[in-house]
């Protein structure tokens, strides 16, 4: 048993060796060294970034000592057309008349220093005030909001595990989209401060996790929100970061994490932005008029894009299953021939003889 214990301890240590405990702000630059953005967390090679001007970058390398990352410009990100917002060609109902979204906050302690005196407040940070404002603004537009103000303390690696139950419970209400409300941790409030319609407001960062089967769908949804918001309020969306992690977005294809400002910004600014964000999301999901309408062309084009993303994800899932099954069969039997026979037997057993039938001699 002690041999097993050491083996398992070694495996656990290997897994945890990649973990980084401190909360750091990374500076992400392009090949030429120009700063593209800041990111609180740990960027990883392969992370994607869509800037405010819709420039598409992919992170190439990360230096954890200097807290820097280099991203390569891929070109302009192909944004979906929002012509329908301008021409008023709004005809087809999308979701049977019912408009419903869900809101919750995974990090219950997140607050805004200028107003609360701290960036982390228990039992309830003022991030809940921003979530409440977003809810009210959705409701003004006729959208039903399922808002769960349950807390998920403490703010540790188990927070997403606890908020998973909240998210899944909210999804039982057959909502069209679900939003996890956060605020960023970038020190400089100027990174988020903006002006919309002549009033001071806060920008919003959209965060998408790329470690789940819905990643492509969630990314497409975030890009749609940005395209609509850029048309309505060009100063609203800061950017989209597609990073490692799941953020419980595996539970729905229309799940996005929203960062309303940062901890050093005045809370009034992100609170003000909630009205613009609610409108942008409402138009993205249901079109522009009360009663759930949307351009036929827009619906068709975006549906095709979404289908493409979804089928790609299905391909990845099935591929992962096939690879997993082959590895298990090979490990269990030790030879290719025996592994093939085992897979056939298992397929026959699981499908009641439909697959993997024995050939009659």
């Amino acid at each position: 048993m002690s041999k097993r214990l050491w083996l398992c301890a070694a495996l656990l240590m290997c897994l945890l060796s990649g973990a980084q405990a401190e909360e750091n702000t990374f500076t992400i630059t392009d090949d030429a060294g120009a700063v593209i953005t800041y990111y609180v967390g740990l960027p990883e090679a392969g992370d994607e970034y869509i800037s405010r001007q819709n420039k598409h970058y992919v992170v190439q390398s990360v230096d954890e000592k200097t807290l820097t990352a280099v991203a390569q410009l891929q070109g302009d990100y192909p944004m979906p057309s929002v012509e329908w917002l301008r021409d008023g060609n709004l005809t087809q109902p999308v979701s049977g008349g019912g408009q419903a979204v869900a809101i919750y906050c995974t990090h219950s302690d997140e607050s805004y220093e200028p107003n609360d005196g701290t960036h982390s407040e228990t039992p309830r940070g003022s991030i809940y005030d921003v979530a409440e404002a977003l809810k009210e603004n959705f409701e003004k537009l006729g959208v039903t909001v399922y808002y769960d103000d349950e807390t998920h303390h403490p703010h540790d690696s188990g927070a997403y595990k606890r908020s998973r139950a909240t998210a899944e419970t909210l999804l039982k209400n057959n909502v069209d989209a679900i939003f996890d409300i956060h605020r960023d941790g970038i020190e400089d409030p100027g990174e988020y401060e903006t002006s919309i319609n002549g009033e001071e407001a806060s920008m919003v960062r959209l965060l998408v996790g790329r470690s789940n089967q819905n990643s492509a769908e969630n990314k497409a949804f975030a890009v749609e929100i940005k395209a609509v918001a850029d048309e309505l309020y060009p100063e609203l969306i800061r950017d989209i970061y597609i990073g490692k992690g799941s953020y419980n977005q595996d539970l729905s294809p229309n799940a996005v994490l929203l960062e309303f400002g940062t901890h050093t910004i005045d809370k009034q600014l992100p609170t003000r932005s909630t009205q613009y964000m609610a409108e942008a999301i409402q138009k993205t999901l249901y079109g522009g008029v009360s009663g759930a309408a949307q351009s036929v062309t827009h619906e068709k084009t975006n549906a095709q894009e979404r289908d493409k993303s979804a089928f790609s994800s299905i391909g990845w899932i099935l591929g992962a299953v096939v690879v997993g099954v082959i590895i298990f069969a090979l490990v269990a039997t030790g030879s290719g021939k025996a592994a093939m026979q085992k897979m056939k037997d298992d397929a026959r057993e699981m499908t009641g003889g439909l697959m993997g039938k024995k050939k009659k001699k």
């Binding site: 048993m1 998973r164 899944e168 089967q213 539970l251 549906a303 979804a310 299953v321 298990f328």
Partner: protein, 218 residues
């Protein structure tokens, strides 16, 4: 929802159901019983939680998985039963401690915390007797126990936060952890057994071809 989204969700659910059925099938349950349990977890997850005020328990994510654990414990022999309970307690403690020690953002962790719980459960199941049943019990009960420990700590600091056990139904960390724990335990076990068999074959061949070497090694 587009057709692609519906098919994607359907595929994810089918894969989870398929994996779940195969895992339960390996624990002295009949094909039909495994299928019924997995279907019950799925349907139970859709039902409203059982509400005890500050504690809410989901049927599919906690009641049925714990019921399976209890059944497996009752079917096990005394020694295996003790080892399984020890595995669950150790897993609960480690999962809780990992939650406190590890970074708070998922992107900073090598693997998503949801799957890390399964890995801890699988390793515990392997350490405490290399048993699939032990691994499943460690994975499911360990994660739920870690949730209970966390709730007690949070309550003791004066925060009245609801403890939702298995709230995400069949997609809950407890269920995913139980299933991945069995798969991991089996994978490690198979690799170790294969390695042992290969060593045995080599030793055998040494005995046949070079008796002197065999003596040297032994």
């Amino acid at each position: 929802m587009t057709l692609g989204s519906i098919l994607l969700s359907g595929t994810a659910i089918l894969v989870l159901l398929g994996v779940g059925q195969r895992v339960l099938d390996r624990m002295h349950l009949t094909d039909r019983a495994a299928l019924v349990i997995i279907a019950a977890m799925f349907v139970g997850g859709l039902l409203p939680d059982i509400d005890f005020g500050l504690v809410r328990i989901n049927v599919g994510g906690a009641v049925i998985p714990l019921g399976v654990c209890l059944y497996l414990l009752l079917r096990a022999e005394n020694d295996e039963r003790v080892r399984a309970v020890m595995g669950a307690v150790v897993t609960g403690g480690i999962v809780y401690l990992l939650g406190r020690i590890m970074p708070d953002e998922p992107e900073k962790i090598f693997i998503d915390p949801v799957y890390l719980c399964g890995i801890v459960g699988g390793l515990s199941g392997f350490v405490f007797g290399h048993s699939r049943r032990g691994a499943f019990i460690s994975g499911v009960a360990g994660v739920l126990l870690a949730d209970v420990i966390n709730a007690i700590v949070v309550w003791s600091s004066g925060i009245s936060q609801t403890l939702r056990l298995g709230g995400a139904g069949i997609f809950d960390t407890a269920v995913i952890s139980g299933l991945s724990a069995v798969l991991l335990c089996e994978l490690i076990g198979e690799v170790m057994e294969r390695a042992a068999r290969m060593r045995g074959v080599k030793a055998e061949s040494r005995r046949v071809h070079d008796p002197r070497k065999e003596e040297d090694h032994e």
